[in-house]
């Protein structure tokens, strides 16, 4: 039997009011409005390709990422806007990236699935499901090798846990962790579905974390709609990981309110009713209600946050809209550092 413990987090003690919580609420509201804007702009044809929004899952990125310090690194999949924004990426650059503009944070070369902002500790944005997990493990090794104090957070979906690279990465991290060489905080964003396939239909055992424990990595299941709970766990775990250099895994149970991607209109795999039920546990509403209680947050405060979010989103869209397309010469840069490509058609 896996010796590692599985903790179902006990209800977190009601934390005291702190200004930070308002910042987190402000961030989550902003991210929601940002995502809604991307959906709008996609429908207008301003954003192309695949678009995967994060609405409903905001507490996960915000709860974890606000616990990080400079020097920490984040890797995630293609549903990556919230992670970049939580890390402090400029929303203008993020929106411009989605618009495929030269001012985008990946110079317009990556798009929605490949946001990158290394300066802010964001190491991307990957499109092959589960493919980024080994990268995160290697990054953590590098940090310890260089005797840095940082660690790595690696987000991934429930569906990603079925692909081989997940397992290879977990085992290697479990092994390296024994030597204190693998401080990765794995965060399962368990939103119940891989595209249209529910966890019950894609995983032989729905206790997903059992797989992680099988690699000697401790796990903890957290209510992914409750940013208090997530942040509480993150604070505790992060401190411990910096010290031990060992991995840890949080299974955040959450839900995605929108379709899998912008093309997922019909959603034949779930009922409207199911979605509505989950909207009753909107992470933003949950946080608002808590802050009303403990901080005396009022309607006015919320309105102000909403207004500010709307304004910042509008600004980002305007910036993206007005930015120029990438210079055609950019086609050939960043392929390699040396011995770049020979143009064939130009």
């Amino acid at each position: 039997m896996a010796k590692q413990k599985s903790t179902a987090s006990a209800t977190i003690e009601e934390p005291a009011c702190a200004p930070e919580w308002s910042d987190i609420l402000r961030q989550m509201i902003f991210i929601r409005r940002f995502e809604e804007a991307t959906e709008r702009e996609f429908r207008k044809g301003k954003i192309g390709g695949y678009l995967h929004v994060y609405s409903g899952q905001e507490a996960v990125a915000s709860g974890i990422i606000t616990a990080l310090d400079k020097g920490d690194a984040v890797f995630t999949g293609y549903r990556d806007h919230a992670h970049a924004l939580s890390l402090g990426s400029d929303p203008k650059g993020v929106m411009a990236e989605l618009f495929g503009k030269g001012t985008g944070i990946s110079k317009g070369k990556g798009g929605s699935m490949h946001l990158f902002d290394v300066e802010h500790g964001f190491y991307g944005g990957y499109g092959i499901v589960g493919g980024h997990l080994p990268l995160a493990v290697g990054a953590a090794y590098a940090m310890r090798y260089k005797q840095q104090n940082g660690f790595v957070v690696c987000f991934f979906g429930d569906g990603a846990m079925n692909i081989g690279s997940f397992h290879e990465a977990m085992n290697m991290c479990g092994l390296w962790g024994k030597e204190g060489m693998c401080p990765v905080l794995f965060v399962i964003e368990n939103n119940g579905y891989a595209m249209g396939t529910s966890v019950e239909r894609h995983s032989a055992l729905t206790d997903l974390a059992a797989r992680v424990r099988a690699y000697n990595i401790s796990t903890e299941k957290v209510d992914g709609q409750d940013v208090f709970a997530l942040r509480g766990v993150a604070d505790r775990v992060v401190r411990q990981m910096r010290e031990t250099g060992k991995p840890y895994c949080i299974e955040a149970v959450t839900y995605r309110f929108s379709g899998h991607g912008a093309a997922d209109i019909l959603q034949p795999y779930r009922t409207k009713d199911e979605v509505e039920q989950h909207k009753h546990r909107d992470p933003i509403a949950i946080l608002q209600n808590r802050l009303r209680e403990i901080c005396g947050l009022g309607d006015e405060d919320i309105k102000q946050m909403e207004d500010e979010a709307a304004e910042r989103v509008a600004e980002a869209v305007k910036f993206a809209e007005e930015s120029p397309q990438p210079d055609p010469r950019e086609l050939f840069t960043d392929v390699v550092a040396e011995h770049g490509p020979q143009p064939v058609n130009i």
Partner: protein
Amino acid sequence: MAEKSYRDAIRDAMMEEMDRDPNVLIMGEDIGVYEGTFRITAGMLKKYGPKRVIDTPIAEAGMVGTAVGMAMLGLRPIVEMMTVNFAIVAADQILNHAAKVRYFSGGQVDVPMVIRGPHGAGVQLSAQHSQSFESFYAHFPGLKVVAPGTPADAKGLLKTAIRGRDPVMFLESAALYGMKGEVPDDTNFTVPFGQSRVAREGRDVTIVSYSRMMQMSLLVADKLSKEEGIECEVIDLRTLRPLDMDPVYASVSKTHRAVVVQEQWKPFGAAAEIAASITENVFDELDAPVVRVTGEDVPMPYARNLELLATPHEEHVAAAVKKVMYR
């Protein structure tokens, strides 16, 4: 004959074969309940049930590998890749298992299976989702590699693939899914592998291509005919392994000039094989070097303007045709 889309032709091929042979089944990610990202499999779960229309986890190596096992035991699995890009994750299962088990078993097993899905550039899907793998797979003995350019071929070749005894990489052009064309009604209509087709006759220049680039070449040929009186002969290879070069040689012996068009990156792409073979076999017929029209040698960028610059267009084909005519 009926007018059918390329998409429906693929779907019809699968359903007719599933009706005909209970050993045919299909598996893939989100092909059942979700009905397929390109809706090729829409309605199939309902019709054939979950034992024959299998929604798999995200596990490409597992999908392909289980299909190999099924095929060795006598089933005829079709594996739908959500896009053929993801088949890289299963490269070992395709190249080291599906393609080789017949050989290293000394011929004790058949491996009748098809791996199919949309292939090539889409629209702004960026670097990991916009690749062309035909030369990659066609290098490996033991596989068949098919790249249909018309609805009729999509249907006829897919039926051949499903009825065959070997593993097939069936590369569909997502950009052609909506394209319509005449498709024979006969449920026994098939198109054999290894037979290139003269898609358009012409006396001046031979254009060799397949899949979407073949369709683009036809447009260029028509335009050049109308506007400049240049008559291109367009050869549609249809299958890259087996590769039928004889019609190409025959055509080049007539036109003495050849252009090869592919969407892939130029270096070590399929056009290199075609060009090298032409030179090797009908060198004395050539009045000009064989020219390749290809995509730019860069990972696919997201920005639409860059993406458009990364893929070959009609004007590039036209320019190549003129080049081999020294015009």
